[in-house]
C-alpha cells in the first residue's frame, strides 16, 4: 500500500514523536506542578516562555533553535565539542523541535490536574508520616495521572504534525528529518506526487483519530481506577 519512502517517513515520525513525548512527560509534569502549586518570583516569565511556541509562527522557534543549537550556536557548539552530539539537521534535532512545540500542550492539562487536587490530601499524608516527596509520589501524582495521560497524547499528536520548526531547524532530509508532514509537503511539490501526498494525508488523519480515541479511553480508565466515577448514593 505504501512505498518504502512513505514507510520511512511514517517510521521516522513515530520515532520522533515518541522520543519528544518521552522527553516532555517528566519535564512537563514538573513544570505543570510548579505552575499549579508554587508561587515564586518570575513565575510570569516561566509561564510566558512555556506558552510562547503556541502563539508564535512555528518557524520562529525553529529559527531560534538553529541559532542556539546549530553547529555555530553557543549551546550547539558546546554539545558537539563536549559530548559529540549534533542536533542540527539530524533526527535528534527533530525531536527537540517537536518537544519544544508540543510542550505547552502537555503542561496545560497537567497544571489543571494538579490545581484540582485538594492540597489538604497531601497535608494529610505528611501528618501520617509521609515526606513531601512521598506524598507527591503516592497522592498527588496518581491523582494527576488522567491529566498527565491526556497531555501526553496531545503532545504525541502535536509532535506527529510538527512542520514549521522542524523545517527551519533540521531541514527536510529524506530518511533523517523528513517526517510525515514534510513528506506530504515534498510530494505536493512533485508533478506526479499527488497520489502519495493524498495517501499520507489520509494516514495522518487516521493517526490523529486513533490518538484522540486512545486519549479518551486512557483518561476514562484512569479516572475510573482513581474512583472519580464512584458516585453511588451514600448510605447512612
Amino acid at each position: 500500500m505504501l512505498t518504502p519512502e512513505e514507510w520511512e517517513a511514517l517510521r521516522l515520525s513515530a520515532r520522533v514523536a515518541l522520543w519528544a513525548t518521552a522527553v516532555c512527560i517528566p519535564a512537563g509534569t514538573f513544570v505543570g506542578w510548579l505552575l499549579a502549586r508554587r508561587h515564586f518570583r518570575g513565575k510570569f516569565l516561566v509561564e510566558a516562555l512555556v506558552q510562547l511556541p503556541m502563539v508564535l509562527p512555528p518557524v520562529v522557534p525553529g529559527y531560534a533553535l538553529l541559532l542556539l543549537l546549530g553547529a555555530r550556536g553557543p549551546i550547539g557548539h558546546w554539545l558537539e565539542a563536549t559530548f559529540g552530539i549534533v542536533l542540527a539537521f539530524t533526527w535528534k534535532g527533530a525531536v527537540v523541535a517537536s518537544a519544544v512545540m508540543a510542550f505547552p500542550l502537555l503542561v496545560q492539562p497537567v497544571r489543571v490536574a494538579f490545581r484540582m487536587i485538594d492540597t489538604r490530601l497531601e497535608q494529610a499524608a505528611t501528618t501520617l508520616g509521609a515526606t513531601p516527596w512521598n506524598a507527591f509520589v503516592t497522592v498527588a501524582l496518581p491523582l494527576a495521572l488522567p491529566g498527565v495521560l491526556a497531555g501526553a497524547v496531545l503532545c504525541f499528536s502535536r509532535s506527529l504534525g510538527e512542520f514549521g520548526a522542524t523545517m527551519a531547524f533540521v531541514g527536510n532530509i529524506p530518511g533523517e528529518t523528513r517526517t510525515l508532514p514534510l513528506a506530504i509537503y515534498s510530494f505536493m511539490q512533485l508533478p506526479d506526487g499527488e497520489a502519495a501526498a493524498m495517501r499520507l494525508a489520509l494516514l495522518s488523519i487516521a493517526l490523529a483519530v486513533v490518538a484522540l480515541a486512545v486519549s479518551h479511553w486512557m483518561t476514562r480508565r484512569a479516572e475510573r481506577r482513581l474512583g472519580y466515577l464512584d458516585h453511588q448514593v451514600p448510605r447512612a
Binding site: 494529610a124 501528618t127 501520617l128 508520616g129 509521609a130
Partner: protein, 226 residues
C-alpha cells in the same frame, strides 16, 4: 514543697506545651497552653483560629514566633530556628471531611500511615482497629462509596494505625448530622479510653467537647483562655 514523686507525675502528665504567635494580614493568633494527657477540648466560634492552631501544632504551618514541645522534646523554637516538620512529629491529624485518599481502597487508606512507621513503633494492627471502630466490612470499598459517618471512622482508623504520639482532631464531626454525630461520639470515646493516646479536640459545638474532653480551653479572638 512537693515530694519528688509528685513532681515527676506532674512532668509526666504534661504532654504538650506551646506558646505560639501566628499572623497573616489582619488575622492574629497568640496561643499558649500546657496540655495534659487525656482529652483536651478547644472550643470557639468559627474563624477564631482553631484550625490554624491545630495546623501549627501538627507542623503544617510555621509560626512567626514561639515554642512548642512534646514531653520535653522541642519541636519548635523560632529563636533557635528549630522546626521539626509534620512527618517527623508523629501527630496524626483528622480533618473535618476525612481527607481520605480517593484513589486508594479503604484498606490502603487505613494502612497509609501504618506503612510509614517502622514495625517497632507500631502499637496497633489492622484487625484491632477494624474491631474497635467496626469498619471491617468497609475494607474492600473505595472512599467514594462510603457515607459521611463511615468516612470519618475510616479517617480515625487511619490516624490510629499510624500509632501517633498525639491525636489532633479538627472538627471531625462537623460535616455530619446530629443523629450521625451521636453514633460516632462513642467511637471517639472508645478510642480515648482504650488507647490512652493524648487527644486535642477542636470544635465549635460545646456539647461534643464536653462529652469527650477531660478539660476545655476556649479560643477567643485569637487568644486561648482556660
Amino acid at each position: 514543697m512537693p515530694s519528688g514523686a509528685s513532681v515527676t507525675s506532674i512532668i509526666k502528665s504534661r504532654v504538650l506545651s506551646f506558646d505560639l504567635i501566628f499572623r497573616r494580614g489582619d488575622f492574629h493568633l497568640h496561643a499558649a497552653a500546657k496540655i495534659e494527657s487525656g482529652a483536651t477540648g478547644i472550643c470557639g466560634p468559627s474563624g477564631c483560629g482553631k484550625s490554624t492552631l491545630l495546623a501549627l501544632i501538627a507542623g503544617l504551618l510555621r509560626p512567626d514566633a514561639g515554642v512548642l514541645s512534646f514531653r520535653g522534646e522541642t519541636l519548635v523554637e523560632t529563636s533557635r530556628r528549630v522546626f521539626v516538620p509534620a512527618w517527623l512529629r508523629h501527630f496524626a491529624l483528622v480533618f473535618q471531611d476525612g481527607q481520605l485518599f480517593p484513589h486508594l481502597s479503604v484498606k490502603d487508606n487505613l494502612l497509609y500511615g501504618y506503612r510509614c512507621r517502622s514495625s517497632d513503633d507500631r502499637r496497633f494492627d489492622l484487625t484491632q482497629v477494624l474491631d474497635l471502630l467496626e469498619i471491617g466490612p468497609l475494607v474492600g470499598r473505595r472512599p467514594g462509596q462510603l457515607s459521611g459517618g463511615e468516612r470519618q471512622r475510616v479517617a480515625l482508623g487511619r490516624a490510629l494505625l499510624y500509632s501517633p504520639r498525639m491525636l489532633l482532631l479538627d472538627e471531625p464531626l462537623a460535616s455530619l448530622d446530629e443523629r450521625l454525630k451521636q453514633q460516632i461520639l462513642p467511637f471517639l470515646k472508645r478510642v480515648k479510653d482504650e488507647t490512652g493516646i493524648p487527644m486535642l479536640y477542636v470544635s465549635h459545638t460545646h456539647s461534643e467537647v464536653e462529652f469527650l474532653a477531660d478539660r476545655t480551653l476556649r479560643l477567643e479572638e485569637g487568644r486561648l483562655v482556660a
